[in-house]
Symmetry: C2
Subunit: 139 residues, 2 copies
DNA sequence: CCAAACTGCTTGAGGTTTGCAACTATCGAG
DNA sequence: CTCGATAGTTGCAAACCTCAAGCAGTTTGG
């Protein structure tokens, strides 16, 4: 009757996700007066490494036409900047502003706080979990 | 220089989430011609256990006014049913139909398939991951 | 008993995200 | 230089989100 362990593990991860992560994302985004996708976009833009719209779209797993609106809203708040690339005048490079960087760091700090179920694990379990996840993502 | 292990573990889980889970949810929902929230709502409705709108809203972590629309769309496709409660005529009990049950099972089967990074883990890691997650959620 | 407060659900407005298709500007190859 | 590909934008329709207001039904307190 025992299901495959990977299915069980994944099912439990989904449960954690849905019950804790989803509400948290909305909550944290609301703290900074951002919509979730705007927050993710900001998080995807590392300071000093400008990205073309298309790359940002890929990183957000959504259509390019979508990114236009998200970037519009972030730009109108002065958190990012559109710069036209000197090499190819079709592409717009997106870069975080100083103010965007500050917000970005606050967001990263809040997002990286583990939800209670993870935080309350025994230290040994936390280390094991970290190592397993690292192995999973490395491959 | 080493961050707390729970933060690192959580950071890695977020990465898995964002890069694999998010696109998958949209993909699976699209397979069944549903929007993500409609899929989650269907998943939340166990056969034989009708739920009032308010409970469904709680389970989906969103506003009750929201659920009205989601339930409308599912009902118009014959996947669920609104029944008025005999005890309190204000509340509408939501129940899955036979057809909804069939779809629900297919969705559950697809959702429980672990993404490649988890599926490719060594069996021992999968078991360990399952056990750690179980301990996390039990508390 | 009955008016007032409350509760469960719906409706409406305003904003964000989503994909698709059409469009403009630009680039690159022949 | 012309043709086809590419980067980004715009417009559209649908879904989802919150908040505020409304309506029906229930409960409570004088």
């Amino acid at each position: 009757m025992s299901t495959a362990p990977d299915r069980e593990a994944w099912g439990l991860m989904l449960e954690l996700l849905f019950s804790h992560h989803r509400p948290r994302v909305w909550g944290i985004a609301a703290e900074f007066d951002l919509a979730p996708m705007q927050m993710f976009a900001l998080k995807a833009l590392e300071p000093g490494r400008e990205l073309p719209m298309s790359a940002l779209a890929g990183s957000l797993h959504c259509d390019a036409s979508n990114v236009t609106g998200i970037v519009d809203r972030l730009e109108s708040r002065g958190l990012i900047e559109r710069r036209s690339s000197p090499e190819d005048r079709r592409v717009k490079m997106i870069a975080v502003t100083e103010e965007g960087q500050r917000l970005r760091e606050q967001i990263a700090a809040r997002m990286s706080e583990p939800p209670p179920p993870i935080a309350k694990l025994a230290l040994q379990d936390q280390r094991e979990l970290r190592d397993i996840m690292a192995r999973a993502l490395r491959s």
